[in-house]
Point group: C2
Amino acid sequence: MIDIEKYKIAEKHMLDEDTIFNVSNLYKVFSDETRLKILNSLLSTELCVYDIAELLNMTHSSISHQLKILRDMKLVKARKDGKIAYYSLIDDHIEKIIKIGVEHINEL
Amino acid sequence: MIDIEKYKIAEKHMLDEDTIFNVSNLYKVFSDETRLKILNSLLSTELCVYDIAELLNMTHSSISHQLKILRDMKLVKARKDGKIAYYSLIDDHIEKIIKIGVEHINEL
DNA sequence: AATATATATGAATATATATTCATATGGAGA
DNA sequence: TCTCCATATGAATATATATTCATATATATT
């Protein structure tokens, strides 16, 4: 131990392991360009898999895999209309998180 | 194209590739448990490498590697006092980002 | 019923990266 | 100067994961 006072202050403010795990997992979602593009596009409107794939110029499979991750993380939900699945955002924090990120990089 | 109207709305709101790249890189920092713990501990006080390693119960090498990433991302800075390097946060957004993350997972 | 279409998903591959180990650097004290 | 000590860093390894490819499912259309 080099600086006991500072160590103790920091120790007191430590987050528990579960919180760290969950928050890091949340930000893992935003750390992938494809998922970030999907989430950002869903800020403006609901979209189907096909159109997201066109919009991002990627395969449907790839988009579908990422949407599954977003569903599992409870960030998006799907509304089925016949064979079309319209995806939309569940969570209010998504917009805030993207905005703070953009704000941050614009200040560099 | 399945739903032209929605497609066009989303197309208009697309972020440019650079922004997506930079924001996803920013959140990649927060997606690792070790870096998240380091950043969170630095919210309360500056800390040296040795004490961070003790606090997180990890090797100095590992912490040092992660601190380099945080330095390169301009999120932390080091103040040298003799052979001791005291690290502190550069950026205001770090606190907001951690808080929104914690808020989000607490609401699930 | 048969076919086409939109989406979902399992497995494989390729790539990224966190940690470890070995070693280097640079300051403090004997 | 020699040697501890705190930190930094390069290389190797192990692990995680994004995309691709093949295939499955489910609805719509003929």
